[in-house]
Amino acid sequence: MKHGHKEKGKAAKATHSGKKSSPPKTKSKAGPIAKSKTSGSKSAPSSAKPRPGTDGGPSFTNPIVAAAFRRAVKKYPTAFRRLTD
């Protein structure tokens, strides 16, 4: 008996889902707009990572040290990348 009820319930759900197939069509129409929005947000992260030593980067208590660090990174980028412990 119980199995029969379940099957009936499933069948009922299937019919309901079949009837409600029209709303996804409207969503699919809106799809390209959503995609364009995501593609726009993907191009944005260039500003997400700040340049070394700039305001968004590490903070220093002494401005001279901050300027020195910025200058060192600017003048020796390869050395900073290659000097590993």
Partner: protein, 133 residues
């Protein structure tokens, strides 16, 4: 400490340990090395001597967990600019800096005499450090 944090954040990658000091003694030793006196006289009298002493101590003790050579390079600039001087990048170029720092940090493994490596650093910095115009 701040420089190590900055260097680790910028170049350390996922394995970095920003601001982690492994050897407190090594860090204090490196910072105080330029002020050392022997028999009442300064052991490192000139400015390039002091910078070379500080760098050599920092590179040999390796007080931080990772990024010691990068910190040494950044602190070279900080030390020099805090004392109203600059580094001539034509004399102390990227290749020279890289080679010198690697030799100083690994002089024991390479079988190099520490006094020779120190003299090398001192000689290059003597030519590279110039007063600000």
């Amino acid at each position: 400490m701040e420089l190590h944090r900055a260097v680790s954040v910028e170049f350390g990658g996922t394995q970095s340990h920003p601001g982690v000091v492994e050897s407190q003694f090594g860090l204090i030793n490196a910072v105080q090395r330029p002020q050392v006196t022997t028999l009442g006289r300064e052991a490192y009298p000139s400015f390039p001597d002091k910078v070379a002493a500080f760098l050599f101590a920092l590179l040999t003790h390796s007080p931080f967990r990772g990024g010691n050579r990068r910190v040494a390079l950044a602190s070279l600039f900080a030390f020099v600019e805090l004392n109203n001087r600059t580094i001539d990048t034509r004399v102390f170029d990227e290749k020279t800096a890289e080679t010198l720092f690697k030799r100083a940090a690994a002089h024991r493994e390479l079988g190099l005499a520490p006094e020779n490596v120190f003299r090398e650093i001192r000689e290059i910095l003597g030519r590279a450090i110039v007063g600000q115009q």
